[in-house]
Symmetry: C2
Subunit: 303 residues, 2 copies
């Protein structure tokens, strides 16, 4: 394993704009990815906050093709590829690896609940074998509140031991600081991303490598600022400032809140549309969100 090839820093689980027939809005999508990339933000396309689980396999592959053709650097991309079924996960993962992505973010199969570690191990092992590509870098996606299928220390250890150059990291969206510290104690050098910038400083201090956070869609430069300066005296103040923005946004359901914000600051009401089962904020929620952000001086320069 070439350590220098591993991903780090701040990534956005890129929100996906939709047209009024709910098809992905390719132009707005590319433009948003370019805006993020210009602020040193990596692209965790097809994450939870991308409504990726509301997209078909073909829609995801087509959007990734479009981004790469549009000149977005694949090495800064970590597409979500974990589906319920092994064939679907393999298809998306192969496609992403063939585009030269920096890594893939892999949910466990998430329909069946209370499955055994043995069953999860067999899933990941089968996927790795079928993809059959040395370039594959998997970041395991631990998000028990949404997937309802947690990835515990024993399973992660077994996967790391069996596939040391492939299972190289994790995104931990549990928000559980004890879990992050335990993982990094057990697996020093693991490419550990937290799922919220509220834990970015804690993660860096514990040996982690960055964060993949919904709010990086709207505050990429701010979050990257802390990543760049986490070893400096400014770090705690920067963390505090990030927490203020995060706290304001997460009063509301995250994906609709992000789309309201992009829509407002970009003066583009087309952005404020979600694919079912998610729904947009109502007017009162949207107005409160924007008023609260303005009250703390929030801006989105260059959007």
């Amino acid at each position: 394993m070439n350590a220098s090839s591993l991903m780090s820093g701040v990534l956005a689980p890129v929100v996906t704009p939709f047209k009024d027939d709910y098809t992905p809005d390719r132009d707005r999508y590319l433009k948003h990815c370019q805006w993020l990339a210009a602020q040193n933000c990596g692209l965790a396309v097809f994450g939870t906050n991308s409504e990726a689980n509301s997209l078909s396999i073909d829609e995801r592959m087509s959007l990734l093709d479009m981004l790469v053709e549009g000149g977005v650097d694949p090495t800064r991309m970590m597409p979500g590829t974990g589906c319920c079924s092994i064939p679907d996960t393999v298809k998306l993962t192969k496609h992403a690896v063939d585009h030269g992505v920096g890594g893939v973010l892999m949910l466990p199969p998430f329909y069946y609940k209370n499955v055994s570690d043995e069953g999860l191990y067999r899933s990941f092992a089968e996927i790795i074998e079928r993809v059959g590509d040395d370039r594959l870098r998997i970041y395991l996606y631990h998000f028990p509140q949404m997937s309802a299928v947690p990835l515990g220390i024993e399973l992660v250890g077994r996967l790391q031991e069996a596939f040391p150059s492939i299972v190289v990291g994790m995104k931990d969206s549990s928000g559980d600081r004890e879990n992050l510290e335990a993982m990094l104690r057990n697996f020093p050098g693991f490419g550990y991303f937290v799922g919220s910038e509220a834990l970015l400083l804690a993660n860096m201090r514990a040996g982690g490598v960055g964060c993949i956070s919904a709010t990086a869609n709207i505050n990429p430069a701010g979050i990257d600022g802390l990543f760049q300066k986490w070893k400096t005296d400014e770090a705690d103040a920067l963390q505090e400032s990030l927490n203020q923005v995060r706290g304001t946004v997460q009063q509301f359901p995250l994906v609709p809140a992000l789309k309201t914000i992009i829509s407002h600051y970009g003066s583009d009401s087309e952005w404020n549309r979600l694919r079912p089962p998610l729904v947009e904020l109502d007017d009162a929620q949207g107005e409160k969100l924007i008023a609260d952000l303005q009250a703390i001086g929030f801006e989105m320069p260059g959007l």
Copy 2:
């Protein structure tokens, strides 16, 4: 709506056999479906117990094609078609309707949790509009323990009112007797299936139409016996006898237990294989299960 076209009785969420490369074993699958159909058992192919959420869209369509070509009556089929994404659900549903199935069993989109009734309503409405076929009959699939996305009375009422000839029934796998009674009080005439034969008599007495139960894979004639005689004096004794088999099987994880039983009684070890993330019973579990079934005189004639 032509009431006589609605489904009723006992259906099996047909278990799916796999070869050693985890591809579906088409011959064994067809044979098992024929065995079930010969005992007056309807086929809820691609349900939870079918490991359908571990199959790709193409695998499901190909298996359904094969069953219809193999002569299995589509009007006694209720394929599961509910996926996380609207395009996938629409594709499977159209395909099933084109085969003339009696109905489809539709999970809500199940990745995103704590979604609103408005979001779920929009999902189902969008799917119905895109399928755009008067022959469509949807049975809503309520299984909060697995999908983690419950379907409440208000949502069901709204869907029924908007699409009275299409949203015709429900499978309730919650095991919650109060829920079943409340649904049938609110929606008399709704095609209500319970997800376990343990509630079959209660469901029929409350105005329901049958059950779709994992154990119908191994005890179809027994369960159909109660369905045929639920109005007679024998009903309570028949229910008691079904509960004994059910109780024996559900000491263990259901899908592996069913495959162990089919494998044992059919003298065919090839049946005892699951696609990850599910795993087979270990030897001690399997031996206890079979011994317990033998102790109550369980048999699978004609398998």
